[in-house]
Subunit: 347 residues, 2 copies
DNA sequence: TTTGGCACTCGAGGAGATAGAGTGCTAATA
DNA sequence: TATTAGCACTCTATCTCCTCGAGTGCCAAA
């Protein structure tokens, strides 16, 4: 066990070095940079073992070693030390975050940009999953004959609206009547429990012709379902081009191509974050990522909170070879500031 | 004059060839591809003249010629022939555009993606400039004590909303009263004419304490001003990496870096499109573009219409070396379909 | 178990050498 | 006077060859 421990120290040193230099690390360089009390030959033996165990690999015979996915995984799980941000870093983040316009979307976008700037990587902030929030208020306003505005206030204060088409000859009074019934039934209902049937029964005892009702009901229903749509703020894609990891332009091309499907990326992040206790970090490394074109990347994501019940994802996408502990602490700080900021607008 | 005409034919051939091959074009290649009834030596003389006149230049002594910015400009202004899309191309565009969700933002985004896909370049679609539209309806809804929702319906059917903070102790009735006064004054007013003073005078004969009024007025004012914000849908940045022009990664980096400031790009496009009669094309080539990092690009933009009065920009950003006439016809078709689609949702 | 020593491997990068496309210029031609 | 053939020259892209050096694995000694 003691010897395993020793080997893990070597692995840790290799990952640290490789992350900071982006060069395959050899036994000699390792001795120089870290004060191991053994010779390079001994280290070579350990490294050969680590390779046999699958933690590291060599690009070619006469090169140093680089961590494998498994190596990174081990590093992330047990080896890396927690990094703390300097005061300047914190101030920088704090001042960036705090000068958002006080509007939900801007705050998220701003948080995403801040995160990308501080990490130098691609950042990702997603709007909250609303499926498990509930409808606090529903208003239907007549805009003009044939058109109405549906305003939904969800729990935790998110507001969504949609212009919907209604029969031309519905009068404002009739609409109001429908609206009142619908509102009464739906207010407070979790979004997921709302179905066409709930809606239809809510208005069945009015004296408005059914043909009129149906269209309004249907439009309302789709509007509610659409409210749940995930938006994603992906920032800093171009920063990947500056990293030594994606200098090969075919790689860079594939990478940016994959990132351009932000919906796909968001869906994936949503997936891996689905049943995760909040506050913890989801980390996916290299081949663990099942998205085409992102096999050389790592995802680090966590959740931010908006109100008591709903939460969204925030994180970064970077090369496998990234400073995991630093990035995690950066995400962590941005996340906490984001939480504060959101709390502010939510009273 | 006839000889100038001849030279211009040569210039046209050079641009055509260079655009399609991306290789400096030499006198011999030119003879082969186009049926000029002269020898390569004669052509060489003409080319030397064209170079003296500034229309073409050579990368180095023993290479062929490439068009200069001035050369492209001449080509675009007078030489290129109008391209027409094939039926398949039209169908492709049409089917893509027509399956948008019927919601303003989605339609614009979808148009942008379609344009990027068909041209293979970066597309750009901006939300309309609303400054010269007017406020058709203003509604203020109480969400909960201390918070209200401001809904603005602008001329041409655009809807904007914003959650605003109001004094805690304002009652729904008081808010309604304020709202009524404000609505009465503002309805129909062009956004530009609305000022804090207009707002303040609109409510001065109510019996609500001024301190309450002020905050509501102020929030309303900023909300209205913010409604004018330009959004931009920039799609397909990564496609630039596939073009032979940006194979040098420093170039690619600069380019994508510049494009990542979508606000700046949008501002620029807005600027050049400001006083332009609709339906015409704004074309900016190479150095004509005053944005850092985009000196090797060209912008082609035009306007789409939403309703009778307001309009937004649509266009592409590509390398100087692009098939101008083809791209223009592609933009044109997408634009016309977009106009149709927007008309549909606007009744 | 560790270490020094040694032969071996392989890629990065530099130095020529060559081919080929293109040019400008001159002198002959219609 | 405009056009053309011919020719010397230029420059880059590409290929091959070579060397350097970091790194390895393994063996034998400590």
């Amino acid at each position: 066990m003691a010897e395993t421990n020793k080997k893990m120290q070597v692995l840790q040193a290799i990952v640290d070095d490789y992350v900071s230099t982006n060069e395959p690390v050899g036994s000699k360089a390792l001795i120089e940079r870290h004060k191991f009390s053994v010779s390079s030959a001994t280290l070579r033996n350990d490294m050969a073992d680590l390779e046999r165990m699958g933690y590291i690999e060599k690009p070619h015979t006469s090169a140093g070693r680089i961590p494998s996915d498994k190596g990174y995984r081990e590093y992330v799980n047990s080896l890396m030390k927690v990094d703390t941000l300097t005061l300047e870093e914190k101030n920088e983040i704090e001042s960036r975050i705090s000068d958002s316009v006080d509007n939900f979307r801007s705050i998220l976008k701003n948080a995403s940009m801040t995160l990308s700037e501080t990490t130098g990587l691609v950042s990702l902030v997603m709007t909250p999953r609303l499926a498990d929030s509930s409808l606090k208020q529903l208003k239907i306003l007549m805009i003009e004959p044939g058109k109405a505005l549906l305003v939904m206030v969800l729990s935790a204060g998110v507001v969504k609206d949609k212009v919907v088409r209604i029969p031309n000859f519905i009068t404002p009074e009739q609409l109001m009547q429908i609206a009142n019934s619908v509102e009464k039934t739906l207010n407070g209902k979790p979004l997921e429990e709302i179905s066409l049937i709930t809606l239809a029964t809510s208005v069945k005892d009015t004296d408005i012709p059914e043909s009129l009702l149906n269209q309004v009901i249907y439009e309302t229903y789709t509007a509610i379902k659409q409210a749940d749509q995930l938006d994603v703020y992906l920032e800093g894609e171009h920063k990947m081009l500056s990293l030594p990891d994606f200098q090969e332009l075919t790689r860079a091309r594939d990478l940016l191509g994959a990132l351009s499907h932000d919906g796909v990326v968001a869906g994936y992040v949503n997936e891996i974050g689905r049943d995760n206790d909040s506050d913890s970090y989801m980390i996916r490394i290299g081949q663990e990522i099942t998205l085409e074109g992102l096999e050389d990347c790592s995802f680090i994501t966590t959740t931010y909170k908006f109100g008591d019940t709903i939460s969204g994802n925030i994180g970064v996408i970077g090369p496998k070879r990234m400073d995991y502990s630093k990035v995690i602490s950066q995400i962590d700080f941005v996340r906490s500031k984001l939480n504060q900021e959101l709390k502010k607008i939510n009273e």
